[in-house]
Amino acid sequence: MKTLGQITVLFCGGLLLFFTSDFPDFGDANSPASLHLSPYFIENTLKDTAVPNVVTAILADYRGYDTMFETTVILTAGLACFLLLRIPKREVKSRYYLHEPTGVTLRFEGDKYPQKSDVFKRIDSNWVPYDLIINFTCRLLIHFIQIFALYVVAHGHYSPGGGFQGGVVLGASVILFAISGNLRAAIKRFGEKTAALFSAAGVFIYAGTGALCMMIGEHFLNYNFLSPLLGTDRIMARSHGIFIVEIGVAVTVMAVMIWIYYNLSSAGKQDEGL
């Protein structure tokens, strides 16, 4: 099995290397990209899509298929991490509880542990005490980080940004919460099922937008024909279509970031972790 995998990897790598020689040289002035593609995009993006940022327009409109499968690749990465790392059955050999009035830490084995107690607080084996400075700063900043993430997603039409970047920032805010507090508190707020559902929902939003265009009777991911639904003219409909698709990308990236962090930081147990 291992040999088979190695042969496949070497074969695919060899194919990639072999066909790289057919590519035009780097910076070649006669390559198709610099002859007619780039000038077309630079001249016509604003006319076609009403989006001033050429990069966003190319990413989500002219090459919408490419980005859709990029989003799918991210979903696959999250799934692969989940399938490789997640331990299906939670086997708890011992739990640590802090007796708050005395400050003594007790270790319970087996099924006997205090349930819903006011004096006992469950802690991890690598637990660190509550730190006021770190907790306060992180709680203060998380709101700003999330607002900035939404700004990055929504402002991708006009400035650097977009779904991938905004999604990463949004995911980082939840990861910051998990680092500054503990993993269980973060999972209570943004659970594993939510992460799994959101990461699939983002791809669904993207592909669903394309399918909606098809249902109206035009090409897949041709946002022009969403104009009756969105109530705008055909060029603005492309701009709005790009925005809808970017939201899908952001949702997927955010959920997958958080999901991978949960699995990696707790070695798949999602019970005790950083």
Binding site: D131, I134, L140, L141
Partner: protein, 104 residues
């Protein structure tokens, strides 16, 4: 005039960056190196960024004002996060049992 003020401020910021980077290499142990890194976060960034903000306001328009405001936001957020990060790293060092360096 504004160009000269901002130039002096940026030069002062760069001086603190230089001091901080030399300190990060030359100081004897983990904690004192972190202290040098903290200088970069606070004084170096404060001076150079305020120099850039003043330079952005050279011609007063709405766009320039907004970019100056964004630079000031960067300073505010780094002022909040930088010392916190230094605090967390020092805390982790103490907890892991690293003893501060002492002159023999």
């Amino acid at each position: 005039m504004i160009v000269y003020i901002s130039g002096i401020l940026i030069a002062g910021g760069l001086f603190f960056f230089l001091v901080g980077s030399i300190g990060m290499i030359r100081l004897p142990d983990f904690y004192s190196r972190l202290q040098a890194a903290g200088i970069i976060d606070t004084m170096g960034l404060l001076l150079s960024m305020s120099g850039l903000a003043i330079l952005a306001l050279n011609e007063f328009t709405l766009g320039n004002f907004l970019s100056a405001l964004k630079i000031i936001f960067i300073v505010v957020f780094v002022f909040l996060t930088g010392p916190t990060a230094t605090h967390a790293i020092v805390d982790a060092g103490i907890r892991a049992g690293l003893k501060p360096w002492q002159k023999k």
